[in-house]
Symmetry: D2
Subunit: 348 residues, 4 copies
């Protein structure tokens, strides 16, 4: 009954199989391996972007920060949600990789609205050379709180960015989860809507540790390569990144894993919804739910072995009825029986 | 007949096996997995350093730069060989990770001598606040040109550093190769001789992609952890780093792989030595040889399928007798038959 | 009728006189001049801090950023007001000088409250190594909107910081203006209340271009010196910084200038208060007023030659009665006749 | 008898006069003052470069580093002399301002030769993405050891740079001294020969503290302005920088001061040449001489009150006949009587 995070589950067997298959003989290092060629070709097909530059790195933070660094000079500011991973969960890595750019928090909600984005952009650069300059907009798709932007929403936000000549980066650590919810093509979700650079996550969705960065405009491809090397993110035995991503894309494993993860959450959510006092912070659109539950319920679940994260407040101590905001995450690997058992505990 | 580099070979079957075994169920992310506990315990034993802080990252550049960044303020300079990987092969990553420290090249030889180190240190900080301040000394063990420092040599260099109160970092991307040559204990090669921080390589010696950083003095352990995270080098699914390193240390796989790689080079070198006109830049102490061979010989070897790197000059064009400096690297995985075939070509 | 800013007025005649007097013969460069000795001694007396390290730089941004850089590792965050000069008016200089630290905005008000500070600090570092770490608190005294913190308020804020082991930096670009309002000693306003590092402004209060940085704890003095040099902020002909600051401190010129500037604002504010529709954003405590005035009034004042900054909205176009937030700043040099004339215009 | 440095002398009376004249009433801050307009116009005339972007900062290090930062991405390397101020005397400020670029030392001589430059450039970027990329070439005119590059030499070096598509920066902290020696126009010495960005020194040649940066190609002007602000190098009371530079350019004060300084050195050198055992490291082309003199001679000079810098060795202790390399610098302000007295001491 593990709902702690989607970075704690195993790698999918097809990923492991691909690694084993890749492990024969010699392979050209640093991304010149044949599997990387397959990855590049396949991602360009998937995104209908034959010119796109495609790179692999091993962590989501690396993907985001390298992408942003090619878009944001150090005198500029990145517009992002207050909940954005780049703001709260990367220990100043974006500031590091950009050489000291700022992050401007847009609004106070999890999802950025065009109005809030407009206001945030208007609020910067009002002092000429004195303040930070307007830089890229970063969207998290899906958000850290399990919401998604529809294609229309992405397009509306990109449109605001374009009005100011600002590029758009998408943190897609859970891009697959968002996509299968949105019922659209990868191209529609990204460059057709106005996204310039995408972090295309693999790690949370069945890989061991690999993320792609897709630069839809390849003009900064070489700068990206230099920054990747300088960031100590260029793998010598690159074939093991390539093999993961290649397997992830074959047979639409990335989509089926995401569908499993989301479906697992849908079942979980249905059960949680029945708990008296349960209240969802947001309707879970992907594989994440934030829900407030009475402390006593959470204590009982924990005692039975369920793993989850209490977001605010102290699980162990206090009024049994007090509602505590709690995060549940489901990945593709969650055994059905575990969900069943968890659901049965809820109705006890 | 692949002698191109030790980062192009496969991972050892025991490494792959360990990854497969690690791939079950959930595991706490970010280095709190049980396999990491095994790694930490084992490395402390191996180095007889029960207090040492031990971390894993995925690239040698990350290991070096994070280690150096904890030792070198941005106003200081790192003393290293002109051939050091941190200087020639990391695209300014040390400057990036330290926040802009300088690298001072020590002497003009591959191996640093105590005299050259003394002179280089004396040459800096002669202008008070105006010049860069003296920072850590970085030793490459084994060197990029296949030499090693004996324990006495490491100690002598550390002694010079200590005279000036400077810490010592060791780039041990090929530490195992150096150690099996040196006939000493890991502790003797490092902290007993005066080394403060070690990059302990795995990738080039049979792993898929993992390096340990060992801080013999754990005082900066927390700073290291923050810098690793900020550097986008903290893996969520950390168990796959741990599993590699754990398997690498079990049954002394790291030592047996290194012995194989070195032995392969010994055989290769013996053969190369017979070629009329062959001249070794340095006596190969580990698994790397730099040797000058006549162009015609190299052309013939290449035509037969041998892979190696011509270091200076144009292989394809010029006087057949002109000697060209060429690098040969052997890894543990090199099939005996390939070496035999190569050797037979030499004597043709 | 110039109320545009206190950085547009002339230098005080005594400052100019001191520069002229300093301009004879040779003087040891880089801060080893005798006038710097006078400055150091005098500032230590004024602040009753015989151990304090004292340095001069030429811009307020340099003073703030060098001070903060000695207090804030690049993995940490600085807590400051949303209106802080370091956040809105330094084009990412704090991020640059700290090597990529973050700024966390405290509350939504101009002045930081202990509650808001407590909440902001609690909001950070909840994710261990993943988020930015808690770093220094920065207070602006007086604030950019013309308010001051009382000694008790400074002490209360420092007390919150101390509860978390965080150092406190004070941006005192207008420290003199705040001090003469507060009726306390410089020591009470700073280190006795818990301030660790002070930017002690001169430029806005009658100097040509000089700011002191006072490190009440000299432990990081040498690091400051290195960072100052590396920041290209160490002056070779340093005597001209020293001479300004020495004259500024002699005969309490700094206090009398600040009293003049504040008194000028008091007169101005009294007049502005009489204007129908005038509303002060804050009661002006120093030499700055933010007041909303009807567009028509502002247009008339401008037409008569008054210079001021309309903070929000378009002066030239719109409803004559619409109130526009406007900034007025008075410096020590403002001729009495100009204020009289301005006041007479108000009552026309 | 002060020959310590040209940054220890006073400002020229015309500079002080200009400051006094500028010190009336209000002036628009941050470089929008009318005197800056004069400076811009005048420098464009002087350099026959009507499109050039012109900026003022207060230190030579700031001028160099901001100029280089607009030319050198953080993944690149700057080619410079081993004696370059940016390498030995700026405490890693170039690394700081560029965001971590490297400095590659060209040859082992004070002056860079086209051959050495060619070799140094060829030596970098041989490893594709792995090593630092080739960045700007920095020339010091005049050099730290008192030599100058002729127009032909500058052109030859720029030609090598252009062959590789690399921009050229000139550190002209002593540009005026070099120019009056070279008998050419400012344009010939700079952009006509291929220089892209110039640090045009004022401080060492009679100003209080001001340097111009001239971007002959204004394409990066706005980037420069942002970097200047972010570097805390934008002065609010900018008129005092403008006033210095305006006076420096009026009536060719910059040239006459440089001629005086050089002439003073010529007289000094003539005298030094007579001393038995004297040997010049380089023929002094400007206002700096490096000469070896017997210890006993130096001791006697010092005892009589002469101030100079012994570059290598211990003045106080050792064989009286041992020759010590010593630096003498003359500025424009050196009283004739002091030189006479010094010369008379030499012949005693």
């Amino acid at each position: 009954m593990f709902f702690g995070s989607d970075n704690t589950g195993p790698a999918h067997p097809q990923i492991m199989q691909a690694l084993a298959e890749a492990n024969t003989g010699y392979a050209t290092p640093y991304g010149a391996d044949p599997l990387m060629e397959e990855v590049r070709t396949r991602l360009r097909e998937i995104f209908e972007a034959p010119e796109a530059a495609v790179y692999l790195v091993a962590t989501g933070t690396a993907a985001n920060c390298l992408g942003l660094a090619t878009l944001c000079p150090p005198t500029h500011t990145v517009f992002c949600s207050p909940n954005a991973h780049i703001h709260v969960d990367e220990c100043n890595a974006p500031e590091f990789y950009t050489g000291g750019a700022k992050l401007t928090l847009v609004g106070q909600e999890d999802k950025i609205t065009p109005e809030a984005l407009h206001d945030a952009i208007e609020g910067e650069e009002v002092r000429g050379v004195h303040g930070p300059q307007r830089g890229p907009v970063s969207l998290t798709q899906a958000t850290e709180f399990g919401q998604t932007y529809s294609v229309a929403e992405v397009a509306a936000l990109c449109s605001v960015a374009r009005d100011y000549g600002l590029p758009v980066q998408m943190d897609g650590a859970r891009f697959a989860n968002a996509l299968v919810t949105a019922n659209c093509t990868p191209a529609e979700m990204t460059w057709r809507a106005g996204v310039d650079v995408l972090s295309f996550g693999g790690t949370k969705n069945g890989c061991m540790g690999v993320e792609a960065v897709v630069l839809f405009d390849p003009a900064k491809a070489w700068e990206f390569e230099l920054r990747r090397k300088r960031g100590a993110q260029l793998f010598s035995k690159h074939r093991y990144l390539s093999a993961q991503m290649a397997a992830y894309l074959r047979d639409d494993l990335w989509l089926s894993n995401a569908r499993s993860a989301n479906a697992n959450m849908a079942r979980l959510a249905e059960g949680l919804r029945q708990v008296p006092g349960a209240r969802f912070a947001y309707e879970p659109a992907v594989n994440i739910a934030f829900v407030t539950l009475p402390r006593a319920v959470l204590q009982r679940l924990k005692a039975e072995g369920a793993v989850f994260n209490v977001w605010t407040g102290n699980l162990d101590k206090g009024d049994p009825e007090e509602p505590l905001l709690t995060r549940f995450v489901t990945d593709w690997s969650l055994p059905e029986a575990e969900i069943d058992r968890f659901l049965s505990l809820l109705t006890t």
